[in-house]
Amino acid sequence: MDFIHSILIQPFLDMADAPDFLIQVLWEGIVSGVLYALIALGFVLIFKSSRIFNFAQGIMVVFAALTLVGLHQKGIPAWLALPMTLGVMLLLAIAIERVVLRPLVNQPDIILFMATIGITLFLIGLGETIFGGENKRMITEELGIPTDSYIFEPFGGLVMIEQRDITAVVGAVVLVVCLLLFLNKSKMGRAIRALGDDHQAALSVGISLSTIWVLVWFIAGMIALATGIVWGARAGVSFALEVIALKALPVLMLGGLESVSGAIIGGLMIGILEKLFEIYWGQPLLGGNTESWFAYMLALVVLLFRPQGLFGERIIERV
């Protein structure tokens, strides 16, 4: 009876007992969810246009953030380092298309996936050689990101909201809106979607595969830079950021590999639910660290009922 009480009643009593703490938990969940969604977006964009599961998205986050910080350390002001980093990500996109993807056109998906593992290993080595392995401070203030906190006292309690977290959330929303507008309203965006729907048909109407691939890898690079800045602002820039990409996998399983809105909603769902579960069930009952597996369990449950994810496209093939 005690056990059932501790699972079904006590967590909700705890929530009601300290509503300010619940608000703080929800806010932290939203911030985590936005950050997960940002990483997942990079995967979705590339998969949508090329059916490639880009294993290198995590290291692209590290590489972009390291480039930004590294350029600034060389004495380049932040306002200039930012576009220069975007330039580096564009060059990287062109190089990946020319050297890796173009020779592998029409190869099975698994070959392209393996190629992205190769890109990952290459970028790890290149990043390590150029920037070293030390943890570096993100140039948060230099980029104009505020670092103070807002303090609220709802229900006589305390809620602390970091301004940089608000910046991250607002920045992510702006980025996603721009991305959706670009994908849905621009000619290039429609071309990306057309390639995702049917390569052969898209090519037959004159859409350039090379141009689109460079474009999506560049956009994925931009998203990687945004992700690197917000994650790096929280805890510094190091190769450890790469493992955060693992958190995008359950988001993709949940939201579907082809859906931009799925990545966002999936990210937010996982961010909020894993935080609530960890605080009210995981820590008191299971010794904590449930965030390591909770998202995967949630995704697994969803996949049992919707194999294409919550927002993925259901594929029906004639036999």
């Binding site: 985590s32 790890i124 602390m160 605080i279 820590q283 660290n289």
Partner: protein, 436 residues
């Protein structure tokens, strides 16, 4: 003519092939399992640089150790246990005199193999604490101090030398969810029941290292009197940032020696003031030891560090230097005991048991203020060096305590039991009956 050239080339290659192992035996093969890549590279790299630079300095300044050059090759593990085991097998096949596993996870995997293969395992300041029992762990060494020693000293540091002062207090134990992070838990649990404090273990998973909001929400909810951190890699910098963010009092936040790492504190700068770490080493760039490293390695362009970025002065880099100092002392002791500069694995094992870095030897080495004296023996494979509590003053670490010493009366019985349990679980297990 072509056939003649081919034959000559073949003969040359064959001759070189035969000659290579002979030449290699003339070098002291002391490979290191490094991790300069991956999520833990940020803390691994400065330690590996320090270890490598001291050996390079000995090669440059003294022509090696007693005239024998040191081959200090690295095998990259990325802090991955499977890769670590591969590196162990590779370096063993290459004729390594020692294995330096550089991760508690790898240490635990390699520990039984090293005993069978009869390769000394050198795990300075990490690994399985029960390895101090030289009778059970004949081939394993973890000087100058173990994690259990460290946990005991931290509790002494935060209780003003009397653990009974912790009675009724709550201590959160923020640790990496990894064999390394869990290592001190048995000792802490034992001390908690003995001295009446509440221990609250808070694990941090690999993917949560840089997103510890849930852990610090728990700390906010539980309001512990102290947070003791057993972190590694990016976990430490994130925890310090979260502590600042949640306004946890920095003077109640203490770490094991790996948390005495300047780049982690530079993330928060002045806001990290009051943060403490127990450290068995203290950086002293003006010491004779460090000046020799500077002269023969760094200034000579033979180091991988970025001295301009302050890496030479970092506690982690200089800790790596001392790790190699201890190993080099073991090699010297082995050579003295064996009466030959070309030693084998068994002789190096004996050398490790005869390391005696007393105050006089520290002065000779030019490292008086950098670490405490200690000695190992047949039965004591740790040495139990004392350590300082160091504090971040906003820009650097300063010593804020005298040398602390671990409470042997609590640790030794636990070690005895853990060693006996380990031997029983890994039968047949070879004991060193020469030890008392």
């Amino acid at each position: 003519m072509t056939a003649q050239i081919k034959a000559t080339l073949l003969a040359t290659v064959f001759a070189l092939g035969l000659a290579a192992p002979v030449a290699a035996q003339e070098a002291l093969k002391l490979p290191n399992m490094s991790y300069r890549t991956g999520p833990f590279a940020a803390t691994g790299t400065p330690h590996m640089n320090g270890q490598l630079d001291y050996m390079t300095m000995l090669n440059e300044r003294d022509g090696g150790i007693n005239g024998v050059k040191i081959a200090f090759d690295e095998c990259e593990t990325g802090y991955n246990t499977e890769k670590g085991v591969e590196c162990y097998e590779k370096t063993k096949a290459d004729g390594a005199l020692v294995t330096q596993p550089w991760s508690t996870g790898i240490t635990l995997q390699v520990l039984p193999r090293a005993g069978v293969d009869e390769i000394p395992m050198y795990a300075p300041g990490y690994g399985f604490s029960a390895m101090q029992d030289g009778k059970t762990f004949k081939w394993a060494f973890n000087p100058p101090t173990s994690y259990w020693d460290g946990a005991s000293m931290i509790l002494q540091g935060i209780s003003d030398g009397n653990l009974d002062n912790l009675n009724g207090k709550k201590i959160a134990f923020l640790h990496l969810d990894h064999p390394y992070g869990k290592e001190p838990i048995p000792l802490l649990e034992s001390l908690a029941s003995k001295h009446g404090f509440t221990l609250l273990p808070i694990p941090v998973g690999l993917t949560e290292m840089q997103n510890q909001s849930a852990q610090w929400l728990q700390i906010r909810r539980e309001k512990p009197d102290f947070v003791v951190m057993w972190g590694w890699g990016a976990m430490n910098g994130s925890a310090i940032s979260e502590a600042v963010k949640t306004r946890y009092p920095m003077n109640q936040f203490v770490s094991v020696w790996w948390g005495a790492h300047e780049p982690d504190l530079k993330l928060v700068g002045e806001q990290g003031k009051g943060y403490r770490a127990l450290s068995w080493n203290f950086a002293d760039s003006e010491s004779k030891l460090m000046q020799d490293v500077k002269k023969y390695v760094v200034d000579a362009g033979k180091s991988q560090i970025n001295a301009e970025a302050g890496e030479f002065d970092s506690t982690a880099y200089q800790r790596g230097i001392l790790m190699s100092v201890i190993l080099a002392e073991a090699v010297k002791a082995a050579q003295d005991k064996a009466g030959t500069p070309n030693i084998n694995r068994e002789q190096l094992r004996v050398g490790l048991e005869n390391v005696n870095i007393d105050a006089a030897r520290l002065a000779e080495l030019g490292a008086e203020n950098m670490m405490a004296p200690f000695a190992m023996s047949c039965s004591n494979h740790t040495g139990h060096a004392s350590a300082w509590m160091v504090e971040w003053d906003g820009s650097k670490f300063v010593k804020v305590s005298d040398l602390l010493t671990a409470d042997r009366s609590v640790i030794d019985p636990l070690v005895e039991k853990a060693a006996a349990d380990y031997a029983a679980a890994n039968q047949p297990w070879s004991m060193n009956d020469e030890c008392k």
